[in-house]
Symmetry: C2
Subunit: 361 residues, 2 copies
């Protein structure tokens, strides 16, 4: 990472400088610093003294070249400002730190080119694993693309981890950490249905995003279970942002009024929806109920506090890292070429104050 000699600058002290000033061999210095080898107290003291005098730190690049080095996980995220992603990242980071691992964060901005570039960049860095966060866009090449990533990384002694998206098909060396997305949506929709709502505006998210697809199908299944006809006209796809929530509600109010509840694809969408309802003079939940999905802090900051589906984002991050660490320690002889693990965490509805029975009956 360091680029050449920083122009005209003091060069960083090396292990040789330390050895020299302490009057010992480089091997000894290395031993003292690694601490994994018996060394006399005297020597250790001499070396440490010089180390602190020189404010010496070992060169991570040299170390890792020579075989040592800190394992590193790379987290690839679409957008660092997304609260849900941030929590996963926090989980990964925390678990990594706990083990003395380092973590890198890269953002793809939903750009496949950039994603590829980053995966390769991480491969160059020799990371222990690459964690890909967030739902996937379900286009044709997707499976092939991921399979290629997985194999590339695997061949380089690294590993691909998919968090928050469905597992890869076939015999691909990747680990998936997912949550019961469909089940959460089912439960959330059921909550609304059991409160008596029948005409529900559904805002699942981007049509091509796997996350949105699961949430929609979960809702669908709930409608079926309740024997309520599912009105496609009340489904409005769009991005996971508050603006979409706002405009979708605005439009629905005009085109298909009469809905008594909004099933939003995320808390952020719900926030936008709530604004639109208020702007239209509707009260929440008295006139219209709203529910979200994700249970990010925003959900409990809104008024009324949002009933939503809790997704254990931070835990997913921890689990993802643990999976990688375990596999690493699993050591040689571990099944290879096998499709990695597939872990699924549970979700549950968090009831707050944004749902009431429908206005009349």
């Amino acid at each position: 990472m360091t680029q050449r000699k920083p122009p005209g600058d003091t060069a960083r002290a090396t292990i040789r400088d330390v050895a020299e000033q302490a009057g010992v061999s480089v091997a000894s210095v290395s031993r003292v610093l690694s601490g994994n080898y018996p060394v006399s107290e005297n020597l250790r003291r001499r070396v440490m003294k010089v180390v602190s005098d020189l404010d010496y730190v070992t060169n991570a690049h040299a170390r890792s070249l020579a075989g040592g080095g800190t394992p590193t996980v790379a987290i690839l995220i679409n957008n660092i400002t997304g609260a849900a992603f941030a929590h996963v990242a926090k989980g990964v980071e925390g678990a990594a730190t706990l083990r003395g691992w380092l973590s890198l964060v890269g953002t793809t901005g939903d750009d496949p080119e950039r994603e590829l570039a980053l995966v390769n960049l991480m491969r160059q860095q020799g990371v222990a694993a690459v964690v890909l966060l967030g739902g996937a866009y379900d286009y044709d090449e997707y499976q092939l693309r991921m399979a290629r990533f997985a194999r590339s990384l695997d061949a380089a002694g690294s590993h691909l981890v998919l968090v928050g998206r469905p597992p890869l098909e076939g015999d691909v060396p990747a680990t998936t950490v997912d949550y019961d997305n469909e089940g959460g949506a089912y439960a959330m929709a059921s909550h609304l249905l059991s409160a008596g709502h029948r005409r529900i505006l559904v805002l699942p998210g981007p049509a091509e995003l796997t996350t949105a697809q699961s949430r929609l199908s979960g809702a669908w299944r709930a409608f079926e279970a309740y024997g309520v006809p599912f009105d496609r006209g009340l489904v409005r796809h769009g991005p996971y942002d508050d603006e979409h929530g706002y405009t979708a509600v605005e439009a629905a109010l005009r085109v298909t009024p009469g809905f008594t509840a909004v099933l939003a694809g995320t808390d952020v969408v719900a926030a936008g929806a709530m604004q639109a309802l208020r702007a239209a003079g509707l009260r929440v939940p008295d006139d219209v109920s709203i529910v979200g999905y994700d249970d990010i802090p925003l959900a409990s900051q809104l008024t009324p506090q949002l009933t939503t589906v809790h997704v254990p984002y931070e835990e997913m991050g921890r689990v993802a890292l643990r999976a990688v660490a375990d596999r690493r320690e699993g050591g040689a002889g571990r099944r290879k070429g096998t499709d990695g693990d597939h872990l699924v965490l549970g979700t549950h509805v968090v009831v707050r104050h944004s749902v009431a029975p429908p206005r009349r009956g």
Copy 2:
């Protein structure tokens, strides 16, 4: 970063493998890949063929050891889930990517020990710069500590950048990118005062945090300018979270009722305050006005939308990276030992719907 040979795994292809299979020297392969040296079309084609066959990527560690390598910036953040920080990080990341730089994110969790460990870790990585985000706790040793960081990094050819906190005193090699925190607070408080509010509940944040101190003193100055006595009893310090906003308002309602507005230290605190007011049966802004600080997305997701101070977080990130890049390119002979730059970006009030004139007059 790679740890030894990943147990029992395929070793990563090296430049030698490529050279061998292409029937050329390693030097040639290196030249083709670096692209900064004339090479015959024939050779290039042969090499590239093998590279893609082997799915080869250069080892970043080896490359940087040998003098090449991608410059890297490290971003040290207290809490990755903080929206404001995330935006700065986004700014840094974006600007870094634009230049082909890599960026690392580490979280300190407000723990000085961990902060130190991270700074050293980054020093080991040979990063081009370490960017420290967010307000500082103004304890005694703070200046010394930062000065030490700055010099350590400087000596290693790296550089310390402080974002969102006051500059270091004396002759310290660090760059500061700050925003007009005090001015924003002054403007925000003035906005409230000019609307006619006189008894204002102030929730500046943690008393020891520089950020909170500036916001408080800005407010103070506004009161003075308006000739309004500043009631210390209406100031409540506490963490920057919604829970504090909630409990502070709750307590104030009990102990020092009669305030007509809340000047919150951050939007998140404002969100909590808003909840508490509602819980007490008060309407916003009809009964009590509220303003925040930061202008994170939350501000416009609340109902009513929050009047707040816009802080150009993302731009600060970009500016910070640019400062580092410029300094690097400034090349040799650049003033050294000089206290680095100190950049200050502007803030401004964003008027939304959470302020109204006080109830009676």
